[in-house]
Symmetry: C2
Subunit: 217 residues, 2 copies
């Protein structure tokens, strides 16, 4: 089983606040996410600046497309994004349009599994050629106080993997959570504040990578 | 019954492309929507520029909040937005957080009724004090070829109005569609390309206002 990659989520009010921690942690980061908040605060110039600084990293523009998929994905790819995100509740035509745009650019599309997705939808995406999904714990479960990752999450991730998806895992992933995922086919872990807001972002990212490597030996 | 207002949706790849038509049509516009595409392409400076140019108009930042409601709404209000949009599928806590932020700023929040909303949710929003919803035709109905507005749409709008909501109507509203809404309690009609891409944006907006005034005599 492949070792999961580490993605930093940059959700700051402005670009400068993201650049400092990113510059420090970059050597240990595989994927850089320009978060929804940063996309909305600074627009596509934020994507352009980050790709310009880190041309060899995968850059995800977390634009969370729900409609106007053609226009928004073009904008993001033009700005240098390698990947763009689409929400699972998007207009059905959006998936095809964005996937085609991504493939034409040598990029990719991730579908964010929001409340309301189901296995029938997932099968349609798989049949369509979608390769990446983003799995987060259900807000309802979080609200009920299910605060740690559990068997139900791992089964869902494994089933998505078996369908052919690379599964990104997000939603308050902490370093201490990583060993819980031993044997689970995670493609990417997302960490946001755990790296960005750390006193030493490089040390935090390094610790994530170390624990990931120890868990997926 | 109050005469509906006219909202221009600005969904361009960049700010300059929006400013030209807006400047021409502004005298006939009640609400200026900085569309999702423009928010993502230029970020909050687009909202700031438009409010600076038109301080007396209502400016809606169509940021379509799904989560991180507190941060995104603060960003938009700080930039000068009067209203912000939240999608109906947002985390339940988002509605309360954004509404509180809006009320603290003397602004407002609009809930965009995406596929999957239901009357139980609408009642909860009404009980919570939400005053504005955005109604668009179901994508499924559009896909089935139901291309004109019909009785089912009008009943839904009337029922939402009876619950206390001001209802914004969007989704390919053309001038010739307006008279169909006679007697329907529409609060705002949104027009995008019908004004922005018109050879004469002022003439197009004026015609919308004229037909609205004739329909709601």
């Amino acid at each position: 089983m492949q070792k999961p990659k580490l993605q930093i989520a940059l959700d700051t009010y402005d670009l400068p606040a993201a650049l400092g921690p990113l510059q420090k942690a970059a050597a240990q980061i595989d994927v850089i996410e320009v978060g929804t908040i940063l996309c909305l605060s600074e627009g596509m110039p934020a994507v352009r600046a980050i790709k310009s600084l880190f041309p060899d990293k995968v850059v995800l523009a977390d634009v969370r497309i729900a409609e106007a998929g053609s226009i928004i994905s073009k904008m993001a790819f033009d700005a240098g994004a390698d990947w763009v995100s689409v929400v699972s509740g998007a207009a059905p035509s959006s998936f095809e349009v964005v996937l085609a745009e991504a493939q034409a650019r040598g990029g990719d599309m991730q579908i964010e599994l929001s409340d309301g997705w189901n296995w029938e939808m997932a099968q349609r995406w798989a049949d369509m050629g979608v390769r990446q999904v983003i799995f987060k714990r259900s807000r309802d479960l979080e609200a009920q106080g299910t605060l740690t990752w559990g068997e139900q999450d791992f089964e869902t991730i494994s089933r998505l993997d078996a369908m052919g998806f690379n599964v990104t895992v997000t939603g308050g992933v902490k370093i201490k959570d990583i060993p819980l995922f031993a044997g689970v086919p995670v493609y990417i872990f997302i960490a946001g504040r755990a790296i960005r807001a750390a006193a030493d972002p490089l040390a935090a990212a390094t610790e994530f990578q170390t624990v990931i490597a120890e868990t997926w030996v």
